[in-house]
């Protein structure tokens, strides 16, 4: 009966397909073992039940060497089989294209690479995406496309992607259930994850490592689209970010820095509820007894200096004090404008 339940989400990557295979391989073995155990217990329950007044003892069987060897050997063989299948799938799930650079890849994996960077000349073999995690938002950066950034992960179909994960504060974990792959982002480390999407659609991105008060809402999404569509988007986005072009709207800063993960702010379409509502900033500034712009700036770079009543201290990360001045100015303007 357990075989009929759709246990796993509909896979959307080659890696998830292989994980599915291991899952069902293990499930078959486990169901057989559980059925055996349950059958013996139920049979004993019915067959060897003693009446309350029955004071007799069972036969003094102390053991049976043959039987004991069998139930050591068979489980040992089964777990060996599972281990081998798992190890093979694990190796396949981490394979990158570009056979020529396979040895280089191995070298890169053991090297202490600390900066996210593309792996090869061809930007799609594999496509490298830098994943920057922070409390409580995801930011995705495409180094091969002029460091284009996005708050959602856009991927071309049937292309192997290597995510290079970093964290700005605490440990986070990147997971897309439909992709089956998961990896922690650890401060001070650059961790990697390989995904080959093979189904079009939009899927949730979830943080699975407890990262603080907003952990439950640290969600984003990933869109798998055709190669052409992706390239058009990435090139346009890259141009917009690059030098010379018009500087992106402050709204992009707002979203890219993950402010929308926790705050409500109507002009940006944000509706987070972890932190205070940013639509009423002038009121809040009055309560704090500060001029509006100064209040906003201080709240970003030194969030614990004044904490809105009803909200705990120390939730808003202090990492934003390192924002470039130009971005900070734009954000302050943007937020001040939204509340007037």
């Amino acid at each position: 009966m357990a075989l009929l339940v759709p246990w796993l989400p509909d896979p959307a990557s080659e890696q998830a397909n292989r994980i599915d295979f291991v899952f069902w391989f293990v499930t078959t073995i486990c169901i057989a073992i559980f059925a055996l155990v349950a059958a013996v217990i139920v049979y004993s329950l019915l067959k060897f039940r003693a009446r309350a007044d029955d004071d007799s003892d069972g036969p003094p069987t102390h053991g049976h060497t043959g039987l004991e060897i069998w139930w050591t050997a068979i489980p040992a063989a089964l777990v060996t089989a599972i281990s081998i299948v798992s190890a093979v799938v694990l190796a396949k799930n981490e394979q990158l294209p570009n056979a020529a650079s396979a040895s280089a890849a191995r070298g890169a994996q053991t090297s202490t690479q600390t900066m996210c960077r593309p792996r090869s000349e061809d930007p799609l073999k594999p496509l490298v995406v830098c994943v920057i995690a922070q409390q409580f938002a995801w930011l995705f950066q495409y180094p091969a496309y002029n460091n284009a950034t996005s708050a959602t992960l856009r991927l071309p179909i049937d292309t192997t992607v290597q995510l290079q994960l970093q964290s700005k504060d605490v440990i986070h974990s990147f997971w897309v259930p439909e992709f089956g792959q998961k990896q922690d982002a650890v401060p001070g480390l650059l961790t990697k994850l390989v995904i080959t999407p093979n189904r079009l659609g939009t899927f949730p991105v979830i943080c699975t490592e407890l990262c603080g008060l907003g952990h439950a809402v640290m969600r984003s999404q990933t869109t798998v689209e055709s190669k052409d569509k992706f390239l058009a988007w990435a090139n346009a986005r890259g141009k917009a970010t690059g030098g010379g072009g018009p500087s992106p709207a402050a709204k992009t800063f707002f979203v890219d820095n993950g402010c929308d993960g926790c705050h409500t702010f109507k002009p940006a379409g944000a509706n987070g509820t972890v932190g205070p509502d940013l639509d009423n900033l002038s009121e809040a500034a009055q309560k704090a007894g500060q001029p509006l712009q100064e209040f906003i700036r201080q709240s970003i770079v030194d969030p614990n200096a004044y904490v809105a009543p009803g909200y705990p201290k120390g939730v808003m990360p202090e990492t934003f004090s390192s924002l470039p001045k130009q971005q900070l100015d734009a954000l302050v303007q943007y937020l001040a404008g939204g509340s007037q």
Binding site: W7, I41, E68, I171, W175, Q181, V186, P204, H215
Partner: protein, 651 residues
């Protein structure tokens, strides 16, 4: 309760007996060990700690000199010491260490003659065992209520009853209490009561250490619970307390870091006591291969505790130093290494899973053999597989870290060892099944819980195989699948065996029988409620619900509501248990010495046993599980006539 203790005359008959000192009068009552001394010794030690902090800060010119966070942290170490000093935990040692003449041992610290004797430093292992069990059940109920709050919040998506800080506190304190204040010490309590009786010893090897190790426990529990009252909120980084998140938490986190030190010290002391007791105090004839499997299980568990517990103590000290003293163990910006925390933490916390499981294996072996009226199948292999789990248990810790970003090559070796540990565990399960086969099975409550344990633990063990296989673990780690798995292991495994043990030895401990009907009702409510609560969580996790979230996407709403309702039923089943225990302890029918017709030594004395356990030292002549062997005996007393003193064959 006073009538539950018989055999004071045995106490009187002890040759080295001295009359107890007269009770102190007047102001001497404030200096004699006891609750009247506690308040001022606690204040004194708070003053010593605070004075030290202020002095150091003043001398170094650190401002403010009066720093609340530092004072609180130091007080969490000094005030409990003051409490223990006041209660009298160190009186004997203090006289000895300071060269004063020691007070002759008058055994006045032994036995319990009124309820008051449970609230003092008591050196009787049977009293300590009951102190342990009652305390742990209190914390079990509290931690269970925290889980009920959690399920109430999770019944619907969005936030309804609590804020994020409180919710994170709920699951963190729930886990911390269940692990450190319930499962581990509940097994220590059962072991404390039963082990000396089982091996034919009059008490534990170090009765004063035993008393002290109990009194550390309420300290740890109250510390963790009181973190809810700390400004900024309770510990909220999960019981795993991963750095660097835990380093940037409110002060409540220090209450966990220090609470773990007290609970850990308690379990290390108890484990040392078990080891010395089991190695040196076995009755004549009780060879290692004649020890009941519960003794074997506590022996291996104690080895695990002694070797592993210092690691979690270290990991929590590091977090606390980073937090309070601004060291940089886990701060990458200053050269720290966050994954180092996880390696140290899991080097304790994986063996801790076996610390929470092996005593349960022992209890299941006792109950199943006695109630199926058959020798345990493959006794030696059962004991050896415990030792195999002990050794392998230290080689699997990194399977908690497959997605943590550790060295990639470490994953496959850790997967293989994690898979291999399933083999000795499987041996135990199959041996229990073979013990049932052709038995004369009596389905009293302990047996129901033991069989419930075997079937539920198999599910928990099998889902462990999924989590050991790296590709599946990458998909399932940190999801509700893991929540389901640990509850099948710790609830279906540990808790079911704790219940089996409590029901099984209840007649021995209290001298009264529990109510069988209520016991069975308790089992079925627990068994059904448990499965309805935790089995659907497997599916939730696989489908994409991460653990430790107060809010979730609407598509999981229906199933979460179902789980919440089931969990309230499961919580309610505890009422039946507590009612049965309280009422039966007070009014239950008197228990015969050996209601289960067991062969092991604890059943060969009265219920409850005399203050010093055995009026004469038993002589062990055979194996502990010789059911069905005509005339077989495990232990004999001098006065007994042995019909056929045959040495039963060993499997």
């Amino acid at each position: 309760m006073s009538e539950t203790v018989v055999g004071f005359h045995e106490h009187e008959a002890q040759p080295e007996h001295h009359a107890p000192a007269p009770p102190p009068r007047g102001w001497h009552r404030l200096t004699a060990p006891g609750w009247l001394r506690v308040p001022w010794t606690m204040a004194l030690f708070f003053g010593i700690g605070a004075g030290l902090v202020v002095l150091v800060r003043w001398a170094e010119g650190w401002h403010p000199i009066w720093d609340g966070a530092v004072l609180t942290t130091v007080s969490l170490a000094t005030v409990p010491i003051g409490f223990l000093v006041g209660l009298g935990g160190f009186d004997y040692w203090w006289r000895y260490a300071s060269g004063k003449p020691t007070v002759p041992e008058d055994h006045s610290g032994h036995g319990a003659y009124s309820w008051r004797d449970y609230f003092r430093i008591n050196t009787d292992h049977k009293v300590i065992g009951i102190q342990y069990l009652v305390t742990t059940i209190v914390f079990f109920v509290i931690a269970g209520l925290l889980a009920m709050f959690m399920r109430a919040e999770l019944a619907q998506p969005g936030m309804q009853f609590v804020d994020n800080q409180t919710f994170n506190g709920l699951f963190s304190v729930h886990a911390a209490l269940m692990i450190f204040l319930f499962v581990i010490p509940a097994f220590a309590g059962i072991g404390n009561y039963v082990i000396p009786l089982m091996i034919g010893a009059p008490d534990m090897a170090f009765p004063r250490l035993n008393a002290l190790s109990y009194w550390l426990l309420p300290i740890a529990g109250i510390m963790m619970l009181s973190s809810f009252l700390v400004p900024g909120g309770p510990l909220a980084a999960g019981w795993t307390n991963y750095a660097p998140l835990s380093v940037h938490q409110p002060l409540g986190n220090v209450f966990f870091a220090m609470g773990v030190q007290w609970a850990g010290a308690s379990s290390i002391m108890t484990a040392l006591n078990f080891l010395v007791t089991i190695i040196t105090m076995r009755a004549p004839g009780m060879t290692f291969w004649r020890m009941p499997l519960l003794v074997w299980a506590n022996f291996t568990t104690s080895l695990l505790v002694v070797i592993a517990t210092p690691f979690i103590a270290g990991s929590q000290f590091f977090v606390m130093f980073d937090h309070i003293m601004h060291t940089h163990f886990f701060d990458p910006a200053a050269g720290g290494y966050p994954l180092g925390y996880q390696h140290i933490f899991w080097f304790y916390s994986h063996p801790a899973v076996y610390i929470m499981m092996l005593p349960g294996f022992g209890i299941a072996s006792e109950v199943i053999s006695v109630m199926a009226r058959k020798p345990i199948f493959g006794y030696r292999l059962m004991a050896l597989s415990l030792m195999a789990i002990l050794v392998l248990g230290f080689s699997v810790w990194a399977h908690h870290m497959f997605v943590a970003g550790m060295a990639p090559w470490l994953r496959v070796p850790m997967m293989v060892t994690s898979m291999v540990i399933a083999v000795p565990t499987g041996i135990k399960v199959f041996s229990w099944l073979a013990t049932l086969w052709e038995g004369r099975i009596h389905f009293e409550t302990p047996m129901l819980f033991a069989l419930g344990f075997v079937s539920m633990f198999v599910i928990g063990g099998l889902s462990g195989i999924y989590l050991a296989a790296v590709p599946i673990d990458i998909h399932t780690s940190d999801t509700y699948f893991v929540v389901a798995h640990i509850h099948y292991v710790l609830f279906g495994g540990s808790l079911f065996t704790i219940f089996a043990g409590i029901y099984f030895w209840f007649p021995k401990m209290t001298g009264r029988m529990y109510n069988e009907k209520l016991g069975k009702l308790h089992f079925w409510l627990t068994f059904v409620g448990f499965n309805l609560t935790f089995f659907p969580m497997h599916w939730l996790g696989l489908q994409g619900m991460p653990r430790r979230v107060a809010d979730y996407v609407p598509k999981f709403a229906d199933l979460n509501l179902f789980i919440s309702i089931a969990s309230f039923g499961l919580g309610a089943s505890t009422i039946v248990f507590v009612y049965n225990m309280v009422v039966s302890w007070r009014f239950g029918p008197p228990a015969p010495p050996n209601p289960w017709r067991s062969l092991t030594l604890e059943w060969q004395v009265s219920s409850p046993p005399p203050v010093f356990n055995f009026d004469e030292v038993p002589q062990v002549v055979g194996n502990p599980y010789e059911y069905g062997v005509p005339g077989a005996r495990h232990g004999v007393f001098n006065g007994d006539r042995v019909h056929e003193p045959e040495e039963a064959p060993v499997s």
